[in-house]
């Protein structure tokens, strides 16, 4: 058969993200993939001109719904560093707890969507049911299920009571038990393995050279995790980056699956070590100077560049989200795969396009 160009997306039944890829196909085999981005550009960075640096927290939280808390945490850390504010220890621990809860529910959401991408809808429902526990924790402790609005410059707005802590521990334990019950299905099932093993391979060298981030990078055998930079309370928590060697869709889903359990462990550790103290340090004046901060989001490394010149409004807020880093590796995975595997491969990098285009 002659070469055909198939447009994939921006609206696609299995892909919840508006990503458009032109697939050059010959005999159902993809030869080349050409991406087109820019369908959901929202211009959030420009808002820094009319929203002061406190209000920008609410804006950057809305870059991405799933990692909202981690976005605002990264932003606040940057502003605090410019202004030399010392965040109270308790606030750092609380931020860690909420960010790990966010990682958990993000991975559970992804695992569900991934199962859905290769047609395993029963498994999708299982993962989303477990995720509901984490969403309830978010709602009960912060006031909102998705956009938590707890971080402020200098600390956090909400506190966890001892009753809440023990409730979180019991809910997280139940969630872990339920996740382990379906571990066998996602990791050993014939259908899952047939659809994911050896599909969309990204070698270690490719992952490194193309600058992959997060589980895409770790699934290819590179042990890199921004939490090792020891921001917030990660200096006191005991963990190792989770690495898989194969670099295929199966390896990436295993990394995410294992990270879900790791996050549960980190939440427990952080609650156990939660110190007493203030929730927020006072914040006076305006930021002056420039800074780059990095945090680990569920999808990988997120980078913020901020510049302030002693005014209420920041001069520049530049956000580089992990999906942006993962697009070149994605284009390296697609050639020579079957057309039917394309949704699975695209989902395996956990694309968040509205996040990439801000």
């Amino acid at each position: 058969m002659a070469r055909t160009i198939i447009p994939f997306g921006p609206q696609h039944p299995v892909l919840p993200e508006p990503l458009h890829v032109k697939l050059v196909v010959e005999d159902e085999i993809v030869l080349e993939a050409i991406p087109a981005l820019g369908y959901v550009h929202r211009g959030l960075e420009k808002l820094a001109e009319i929203r002061d640096y406190h209000q920008m927290i609410q804006v950057v939280e809305r870059v991405c719904g799933i990692c909202s808390n981690i976005h605002s945490m990264c932003y606040c850390q940057g502003i605090e560093e410019i202004m030399g504010i010392e965040v109270p220890r308790r606030a750092e621990y609380l931020r860690t707890i909420w960010s790990e809860l966010h990682r958990m529910h993000s991975h559970l959401l992804w695992l569900g969507l991934f199962a859905d991408a290769f047609g395993f809808e029963a498994l999708f429902m299982q993962f989303w049911r477990i995720r509901e526990r984490i969403m309830d924790i978010n709602e009960a402790t912060t006031g909102s299920r998705v956009i938590t609005s707890v971080n402020i410059v200098g600390g956090v707005r909400q506190d966890l009571t001892p009753e809440m802590c023990s409730w979180i521990l019991s809910e997280v334990d139940t969630a872990v038990k339920e996740i382990k019950e379906i571990q066998n299905t996602i990791l050993n099932d014939y259908t899952v393995c047939a659809r994911t093993k050896g599909v969309g391979v990204l070698t270690k060298e490719q992952a490194y050279d193309l600058g992959a981030a997060g589980p895409t990078l770790r699934g290819s055998g590179v042990a890199s995790d921004m939490r090792l930079l020891k921001y917030a309370a990660f200096d006191k928590l005991d963990f190792e980056p989770i690495v898989e060697q194969d670099g295929d869709c199966y390896a990436r889903s295993t990394v995410r699956f294992r990270e879900t359990l790791q996050s549960a462990e980190l939440v427990k550790q952080a609650i156990a070590g939660l110190p007493q103290g203030d929730l927020a340090a006072p914040c006076k004046g305006n930021p002056e100077g420039e800074i780059i901060t990095r945090v680990e989001q569920p999808r990988g490394e997120c980078l913020y560049y901020m510049k302030g010149s002693g005014k209420k409004f920041l001069d520049r807020v530049r956000i580089r989200t992990p999906t942006f880093a993962n697009v070149p590796p994605l284009l390296a995975m697609l050639p020579n795969c079957e057309l039917a595997d394309v949704p699975v491969i695209i989902l395996s990098i956990d694309p968040c396009i509205s996040c990439t285009e801000r």
Partner: protein, 124 residues
Amino acid sequence: MLNMTPTVLKNLLQKSSTRMYPIEKREPFERYRGELFNNIDECIFCKKCQIKCPSQCITVTKDKESGTGTWICDPFACVYCSICVDACPTQSLYMKPVHRAPSAERDMMEQTGKIKLPKKKAKK
């Protein structure tokens, strides 16, 4: 698919994980940020909420002649972050842990109240 069998059987025997939503509702959590209200008798029309609100959906105006002030909030632009609740010096703003009822028309929350004199002056 055999791996899934125990889970499937368990699901069959368990009670349902979902609710018959409009008939059966879950109790809201205490901290849930639901609907925004203003207790207009307490409000001193200081404009703090207007200044702090990140979505700039509050407008506070004062009319010196008639001695009244108006507090207007566009609930469709509000993102329910409760920053205004934290900023209000008289605690006249509060959030109820309920969902806003659906509405087919765009209606603004508009409240009018008397301007109170600042406490120091009132004492004289």
